[in-house]
Symmetry: none
Subunit: 162 residues, 2 copies
């Protein structure tokens, strides 16, 4: 399916406005610096220091601006997610026994489905990685899967996992 993503013009306009505002602020800041003759507080060859100072300051401000600019979007990110209003999931025991899947294997299938690596699963279950491998290997065999992603897919359609 192709999903044409149109550019959000409103945010862009807002961004431009912000940048302009930002520039103005910068101008004012420079003016202030000039008026206070701040640069005469340092010694002769102060241009470099002055430049570095301004650079650092504006770099920091720029980063901050960039962040606040992009942070505006995540403000809306707090959104409700429609989830199938289902109660606590219960694995289809019929199919589990049909396929001869052991409880441990089912457990590992769930952890695989939640995106964990073998290493992470091993740590979580306090077993060695090799153990997880053997379990998953046998699991794939029983499910007829070649990859963990496929195992997850099959497990979901077979209602072995939520």
């Amino acid at each position: 399916m192709t999903l044409t993503r149109e550019s959000a013009p409103s945010s862009r306009r807002r961004a431009v406005r912000d940048i302009v505002l930002y520039g103005l602020c910068g101008g004012v800041l420079i003016a202030v610096l000039k008026l206070t003759e701040y640069r005469f507080l340092v010694v002769e060859h102060s241009v470099e220091i002055y430049g570095a100072l301004v650079a650092a300051l504006f770099a920091g401000l720029g980063i901050w601006l960039g962040q606040t600019l992009t942070r505006k979007k995540p403000a809306v990110i707090l959104k409700e997610v429609p989830t199938p209003a289902a109660g606590p999931f219960a694995a289809d025991e019929t199919r589990v026994s049909q396929l001869g899947i052991t409880p441990r294997e089912l457990e590992i299938l769930g952890l695989i489905a939640s995106g964990l690596s073998n290493r992470e699963i091993a740590d979580r279950l306090f077993v060695s990685e090799n153990t997880v491998k053997t379990h998953s290997s046998r699991l794939f065999d029983k499910l007829g899967a070649k990859r963990r992603t496929q195992a997850v897919q099959i497990g979901k359609t077979a209602r072995l996992i939520p």
Copy 2:
């Protein structure tokens, strides 16, 4: 349900690299400015011009840096709301554009979720396996996933895929 995204080390590494590169660029720029004695090309009161130049430059760079740095930041905060399971699936375009996921990447996410290998995806889309890898790599980056199973899990909770 809160989906806490753990720090993707690769992105962080890249971010650090970006910062270092950025700093180096700044240093080089200042050095060049100094070496060419650019400030003597303009009239007496050149300090302001010089400062403004540096300021503007660093501001731009800072904004860019800030944006690129935080672009992948938006943590996917999901709020669960019971809803009668919808019929035909439609990807949440809002979140897709929020995460900056391209149509092609979304397509590949779907194929990954259906349990296909990179090779199989490549064959199905008539592209090279390397291309699929590139797409999935960028996809994982945007989703904050380290593995394809995790990408699928995140994609599902974010309603990017059925």
